[in-house]
């Protein structure tokens, strides 16, 4: 083996080692940068969310003390209804079991608390869940929450559509005897949007993951038929 070949080989080994070392360093820096990007991204999300949730809200008249729903009646047993105005099963529930709930309230057995949550915003193109919930707040402001909620279910738009326009929401309000102009300005000012957010967040916090959710004295009722509701209230009243 000649010494020149030996030198060449040695030089190449050194060159390779330097190159490898440089690559290793670059890999480390790339990894550090990537981790930083991921961490910063997460913090940005947290920051954006903290900004969005902003604490304050105005609850409409007739809301519960916690501001998480509209209460009706004074019976000892509390029926909590978590519903989204876009949810077809909620409409069904209102049609089949709504009268029973009303009756229980009228008989003085129960207090009903209606929570107009906005869970289904992504199933309309115009955030109909939020808009309709805020609209129901405007109706509560005029003292016609229940009438208005009933009318919203009667005129429920299909999932995936644009939902009802603000003008249509105001027409429905006029239809149940509310002042159209007052209502329309309440709606366009977004007066109760923050309340909708509060109601929705509270429902989620309470472990409600779907609509309709019916709870009697805090316990979820699986059988939402008129008989089921009646039985649950009777059991809770004992």
């Amino acid at each position: 083996m000649s010494s020149r070949k030996g030198q060449r080989d040695a030089a190449r080994v050194v060159r390779q080692q330097i190159a490898r070392e440089r690559r290793r360093r670059r890999t480390i820096w790339a990894s550090v940068a990537a981790v930083a990007v991921l961490v910063i991204a997460g913090l940005i999300g947290w920051g954006v969310w903290s900004g969005q949730r902003g604490g304050g809200y105005t609850a409409p008249p007739g809301a519960t003390v916690a501001g998480t729903g509209i209460a009706h009646g004074s019976g000892p047993v509390v029926i909590d209804l978590y519903e989204d105005f876009l949810c077809p099963i909620c409409k069904q529930f209102q049609q089949t079991s709504g009268p029973t709930v009303e009756q229980l309230v009228a008989e003085g057995k129960a207090t009903v608390v209606f929570h107009p949550v906005a869970f289904l915003n992504r199933y309309s193109t115009t955030q109909y869940s939020t808009r309709s919930s805020a609209a129901s707040g405007c109706a509560a402001n005029g003292g016609k929450f229940r009438e208005y909620a009933g009318a919203l279910f009667d005129r429920q738009p299909p999932e995936g559509s644009a939902g009802l326009s603000d003008a249509e929401l105001a027409d429905i309000a006029a239809g149940v005897g509310l002042n159209r102009d007052t209502f329309a300005s309440c709606l366009s000012d977004g007066t109760y949007k923050s309340w909708t957010k509060h109601v929705t967040e509270d429902a989620s916090k309470a472990g409600v993951t779907g609509t309709p959710t019916v709870r009697v004295n805090g316990k979820e009722v699986a059988d939402r038929s008129p008989e089921g509701i009646r039985a649950a209230v009777a059991a809770a009243g004992k």
């Binding site: 790339a30 990007v37 999300g45 947290w46 969310w49 949810c87 915003n121 992504r122 957010k197 993951t209």
Partner: protein
């Protein structure tokens, strides 16, 4: 350490692999970008989706729900650029394992939720039954993409490749 002038390989895999790698990398990047973008639109819903699993306290779930979409977008961007591919693949794999575990646990506990994978707020649409198995299988497929990149992170048209410079002889990767 011997240096052979040229190494002739019999299979075509080495020639194909880099391009499969690019496709895999871009595919996984697309998954993350779509998943992140659909959740980032509505961070409150994202928080609700995490909360729907009932594995974390509400406050923690909302923070995870808010941070996750942006982390997913960042992962998508890293993979798109091909920067720190192996690390991004490792984080992807870890996240996907957590997702699969979460869905499996929701299934096992008999919860009736949507996985929220592509931003649905955890709420099932009307009359929709939970589809845990397809969701898990889909995540396992994504996991396979991440696994490929973990094993073969070096792909053409990547920042990693540019940083490493031209391949050195006697590559020992």
């Amino acid at each position: 350490m011997t240096v052979t002038a040229s190494r002739i390989r019999a299979t075509r895999w080495p020639a194909v692999r880099p391009w499969v790698g690019v496709a895999t990398r871009l595919g996984l990047a697309t998954v993350w970008l779509l998943a992140g973008a659909s959740k980032a639109e509505d961070l409150a819903a994202s928080g609700r989706a995490v909360n729907a699993y009932r594995l974390l306290p509400y406050e923690v779930a909302t923070v995870v729900g808010a941070a996750l979409p942006f982390v997913e977008l960042a992962l998508g961007a890293l993979l798109l650029l091909g920067l720190a591919t192996r690390l991004a693949a490792a984080v992807s794999a870890a996240l996907l394992v957590v997702f699969v575990a979460g869905i499996a646990s929701a299934w096992a506990r008999g919860l009736s939720i949507d996985c929220g994978c592509f931003g649905s707020g955890g709420q099932l649409a009307a009359g929709q039954a939970p589809s845990y198995l397809p969701e898990i299988l889909r995540d396992v497929a994504f996991l396979a993409l991440a696994g490929f990149l973990l094993i073969w992170p070096r792909t053409p048209v990547s920042v990693d490749g540019w940083l490493a410079g031209p391949p050195v002889e006697d590559e020992d990767e």
